[in-house]
Amino acid sequence: MTTIATAESARRLAEAMARAKAMQFNQPAQRTYEELSAESDLSLEERLFDVRAACKIEARKFSMLFEPDWHKKLFRQLDLLMDPEEWDSEDSPVSKNSFITFIRMSMILRNARRPGIGIANDGHILATWSIRRNDRLTVECLPQDRVRWIVSVPLKEETESAAGVTSLHRLLANLEPYKPEHWFAHERG
């Protein structure tokens, strides 16, 4: 899937980026993704377009901290996630504050395998590292550098599940009993 395929798409991206940049530099009147997405005069496609553009601008600020193609892979994941053909119109678009937490978590876990990404209520990004259906880690990125972690781990003939809410800097300490390195390893068993 190409991000920009037509001149019309390029024009719309430029307009969306202009709106996003105006949002950044106009601090007292800064409009959140939620406000942009709530505008009734924008179609679902336009709202998702704007949110994708704003996420990409945010991610670009940190791209020098990651491997060279990190942002390209993330952008593709965002394009797939917020494809208007696949998006449930009843769902909230990605929340800016959740996305910022996701980016900061990605910096902490920059040596780990990249997660799959999804969405939960209130536009919260979900990051998942799966080995099997019943062996995975899900992290819901909440605002203000808070995260909810949910684990499913196989134990003999049962699956043990647990969850908790913590600050980003305490995430790995919370996960330690579950040996999170097996989810983060690049070579999966």
């Binding site: 892979k73 593709r76 994941q77 797939l80 996630l81 917020m82 494809d83 053909e85 696949e86 998006w87 449930d88 009843e90 769902d91 395998r113 990249r114 997660p115 799959g116 990404i117 999804g118 969405i119 939960a120 209520n121 979900l126 998942t128 799966s130 259906r133 019943n134 995975r136 899900t138 819901e140 909810r148 949910i150 499913s152 699956t159 599940s161 647990a162 969850a163």
Partner: protein, 162 residues
């Protein structure tokens, strides 16, 4: 039957959009679900599902196909990358009970889907329960792209139950 509890040995089918499917780092579905696939919105009284045995069919696969066709004919249009999660009513209730929640799964027909049902009293904020539903080994996942093309509204009355 409207408002009645679905039998424990019947099944319900839940539409799961691409955004709520478990995916790998390339965005490819792994065949699993995220907990958000079963997360009720604040504005919803119950989790929206479709009653599988409402549809006639000699086997499970035919019922699934007809249910998917019914969903496609409803006002909710599943995307091409969406999937359908199918679970037995009794198993869903049992898992919820294990997490100290008593749910009801009732027939709740709506104008655009006569086979519509709801999972009532499912908590919004018990993430262990929601993830357990998503990772249950008895939960079957069928991708929209794997079901034959077509859409046909659910009939006005459920199929005769044997």
């Amino acid at each position: 039957m409207k408002g009645g509890n679905l039998p424990d040995n019947h099944h319900v089918i839940r539409v799961v959009p691409y955004s709520k499917l478990d995916k790998d780092e390339e965005g490819q579905p792994t065949g699993g679900l995220l907990f958000s696939a079963f997360q009720r919105r604040e504005s919803e009284d119950g989790l929206s599902v479709t009653w599988l045995e409402y549809f006639a069919g000699h086997d499970h696969g035919k019922k699934v196909e007809r249910a998917v066709h019914g969903i496609r004919a409803s006002n909710y249009k599943p995307g091409g990358k969406a999937a359908f999660a199918i679970g037995m009513v009794g198993k869903i209730k049992e898992l919820c009970r294990a997490q100290k929640h008593k749910v009801r799964i009732i027939h709740a027909p709506v104008d655009d889907n006569k086979a519509h049902a709801e999972v009532r009293q499912i908590p919004r904020d018990d993430h262990v329960l929601l993830d357990a539903l998503a990772t249950a080994d008895w939960m079957t996942i069928v991708f929209n792209s794997k079901v034959d093309a077509g859409s046909s509204p659910a009939p006005d009355a459920p199929a005769e139950q044997s």
